[in-house]
């Protein structure tokens, strides 16, 4: 249908062809997006609404009774020290992991892209952490970061530094988790940047070469960086979201301790909902978590999307 309508819209100039073309384009758009919309509603929207509904109740797993409690759960949240600590820790974690993993990912991608030989090898090595089961790799890190018998501190001792009590001390635990997070995320970001780099037309580089002295640095700022705009925006967004969702390392390595120094949002929500079994309260936390994240994303997207240059 649209195959007829569209060219027609392009040629004819009678009987409001622009409106007809718009209509048919809209129709095609909805048809193509339809299945995705259906799944989105069914698998994300409805469950989210269910969570919001649950957040207004005192539902507890295992008990039959369910009572409407209005905003009580939200009021309790305001005074919940654990929740506030988790909020702060998650923020700190995100602020460390996002920039580090984005820049290292970009760096790795640029270096690997420039290298002719061993490209596949390096790509594979840097991607390994993404491929591995994080729960199992967390156990490995637990040993590597062992304060006395671990290799990391053994190396530090060789150069005369007394290594910190990585995962054991409340001052270092969050940073240690963040480093593991960076290790895990760099390869992920690298692949995204590699995909973005390959999409840059070579002619642009040739043009840049004609234009100016083609120092690598200039080429990067003139061509690569602006052309990577959409990719970068995407990578930053995904990195923020993934860091905020940190869960596996915490649950395997520290369980939020010591003394809540590594308490993060998803862990707190999981504890409330599945361990303390207070599903209603955990749902309220989830809603606040989602709302905060959403606000952040809208802001970030508004701020960055305008500056990003699309071809």
């Amino acid at each position: 249908m649209d195959s007829i309508a569209l060219p027609a819209g392009a040629q004819a100039e009678t009987s409001d062809p622009a409106a007809a073309a718009r209509r048919s384009e809209a129709f095609a758009g909805w048809r193509l997006a339809g299945p995705a919309v259906a799944f989105l509603v069914l698998l994300i929207l409805l469950p989210t609404i269910a969570v919001i509904a649950l957040s207004l109740t005192d539902f507890e797993l295992g008990y039959d009774g369910i009572r409407f409690v209005g905003l009580d759960n939200y009021l309790e949240l305001l005074e919940d020290r654990t929740f506030l600590i988790a909020l702060g820790n998650t923020l700190t974690y995100t602020l460390v992991v996002t920039p580090l993993s984005v820049f290292l990912g970009l760096g790795a991608a640029l270096l690997i892209e420039a290298e002719v030989r061993g490209r596949a090898l390096f790509r594979t090595i840097y991607f390994l952490p993404v491929v591995s089961l994080l729960v199992a790799m967390a156990t490995v890190w637990q040993y590597l970061l062992h304060p006395t018998i671990g290799p990391v501190n053994a190396l530090l001792r060789l150069i005369g530094i007394a290594g910190p009590n990585w995962l054991g001390g409340s001052d270092t635990v969050l940073l240690s988790l963040a480093l593991i997070g960076v290790w895990q995320a760099v390869g992920f970001n690298m692949v995204l940047f590699l995909a973005g780099l390959t999409a840059i037309p070579r002619e642009l580089y040739a043009a840049a070469e004609v234009d100016r002295a083609a120092a690598a640095w200039d080429r990067f700022w003139l061509v690569t960086w602006p052309m990577l705009g959409p990719t970068t925006l995407f990578v930053v967004t995904i990195s923020v979201i993934n860091s905020v969702k940190v869960f596996e390392t915490v649950s395997t390595l520290t369980q939020g301790g010591p003394n809540r120094a590594s308490e993060v949002l998803l862990w707190t929500i999981y504890q409330e909902g599945f361990v303390y079994l207070r599903v209603g309260y955990a749902s309220a936390m989830t809603v606040v978590f989602l709302a905060t994240l959403m606000a952040l994303m809208v802001l970030q997207y508004r701020a960055l999307d305008r500056r990003v240059h699309y071809t």
């Binding site: 062992h146 006395t148 018998i149 409340s170 520290t254 301790g257 504890q271």
Partner: protein, 421 residues
């Protein structure tokens, strides 16, 4: 409409499956920590099915931890997915009992009539009782013991054949071990994770968590103060480092730690991890008050979930078998748990000989008379209370606050979490 169809299909399928073996009852059994219990469970169920050919044991996919196992049961409660028998951590038994998910075993015990003769003493039955309910039968039980590295003892001039009997002696040896250098540390006291090891100190001083009516905190009395001050001394005088649970285990297995205080249930694993690296020993854990001191019981209980009377008979048979002398004789050597069945412990038919040959396992056995139930807090904040206690212990271990202040904070926070009735 489609749902009805699915249901009908399910019923038809179930019927066709059942018709294959008409007289057979199939019990779906769920258990946690397969890394630990798989071999044990396989062995027990094999023997059970040999003795009871009309009952088939089908293990559903196990859960990695007690917590996750409990979540599974709570989610599945009342649905067709719910297993018929499960194993619940002794401190979480109250949760399933209060929610009436577990089947009260009182009538079965009464009908049986001769539990004591089969090795289930009143003391053992009590480990799984809450508010007049028999929520399960203790299956694998443990108590906290002292592990020590005899090589390090010798290096500081202590005699490993005469293990320290009091905490003062422990701290005196520890303070020498910490000065050995070369990354060697003194004590790994398992305060992380839950309140079990704190209970060991508190009960060991003769204290209790709450007042007998369960309305008020009681651990802030002199016994609790002694317990938390002791923890503080372990750090200050004994040089105990701040370690995560796994790091503590690993360092001890590597021969870099003098003392480890943790469950006897981990003994088999510790033996395996240590190998021939050093001379591993065990001894009873010192008590702050040898006269009135007790020790908490860790481990789990077999719990009946099925409400179907026909299955309940079979489930009761299996539970009793698993928790009985044969079950204990499989569990104990494979793990390090203590026998939860008096017959198994004493009779040479079961474990008598084993203990002769494996002296490391004796520490837990010797402490059996001191065992009392691991206290489960009332109300829905039970686990949160536990977490509050652990958080405050970590403040003491990290030397962020004085023990007195930590204890007062804990008492205040826990009191708030108790049911207000």
């Amino acid at each position: 409409m489609t749902r009805i169809k699915t249901m009908l299909a399910g019923v038809a399928l179930a019927a066709s499956l059942a018709s294959g073996a008409l007289a057979e009852t199939t019990l779906n059994v769920h258990y946690p920590m397969p890394g630990f219990f798989k071999d044990v469970m396989d062995k027990i169920s094999k023997r059970f099915m040999e003795e009871n050919p009309d009952i088939k044991i089908n293990f559903v996919s196990p859960s990695p931890t007690y917590e996750e196992g409990l979540q599974l049961i709570l989610r599945q409660a009342g649905t067709a997915e719910m297993p018929d028998v499960t194993f619940v951590g002794l401190n979480r038994l109250r949760v399933v009992a209060e929610r009436e998910i577990s089947v009260d075993l009182k009538p079965f015990v009464a009908k049986d009539g001769k539990m004591a003769e089969q090795g289930f003493s009143d003391n053992i039955l009590k480990l799984a009782q809450f508010g007049g309910q028999q929520a399960g039968l203790a299956f694998a039980t443990s108590n906290p013991i002292m592990y020590y590295n005899a090589d390090l003892f010798r290096r500081v001039g202590a005699n490993p054949d005469v293990p320290p009997k009091t905490w003062d002696e422990v701290i005196a040896i520890a303070s020498k071990i910490k000065d050995l250098g070369d990354g060697i540390q003194s004590i790994d006291f398992r305060w992380q994770g839950d309140d079990w090891m704190f209970s060991a100190l508190l009960f060991g001083a003769g204290g209790t968590m709450l007042t007998p009516d369960e309305k008020k905190v009681a651990f802030d009395g002199p016994e609790g103060l002694a317990a938390i001050r002791l923890l503080d001394r372990m750090v200050k005088e004994g040089g105990m480092p701040v370690l995560t649970k796994s790091n503590g285990e690993q360092a001890f297995a590597a021969g870099k730690i003098g003392f480890a205080f943790q469950t006897t249930g981990g003994l088999r694993n510790v033996i395996n991890n240590v190998g021939e690296k050093f001379d591993l020993r065990t001894a009873p854990i010192p008590l702050l008050s040898p006269e009135k001191g007790h020790l908490p019981t860790g481990g789990n209980a077999a719990v009946m979930l099925t409400k179907d009377p026909a299955k309940q008979e079979a489930a009761w048979k299996f539970i009793k078998f698993a928790a009985g002398p044969y079950g204990a004789s499989v569990v104990v050597p494979g793990t390090g748990y203590v026998p939860n069945n008096e017959l198994a412990a004493k009779s040479s038919e079961y474990l008598g000989e084993f203990y002769q040959k494996n002296p490391l396992f004796k520490a837990g056995l010797e402490q059996m008379p001191k065992m009392v139930p691991w206290y489960a807090f009332p109300g829905s904040n039970g686990v949160k209370v536990t977490q509050t206690i652990v958080d405050n212990l970590s403040r003491v271990v990290e030397q962020k606050v004085a023990p007195e202040e930590a204890l007062a904070d804990t008492a205040r926070e826990v009191q708030r979490l108790l049911p207000r009735k």
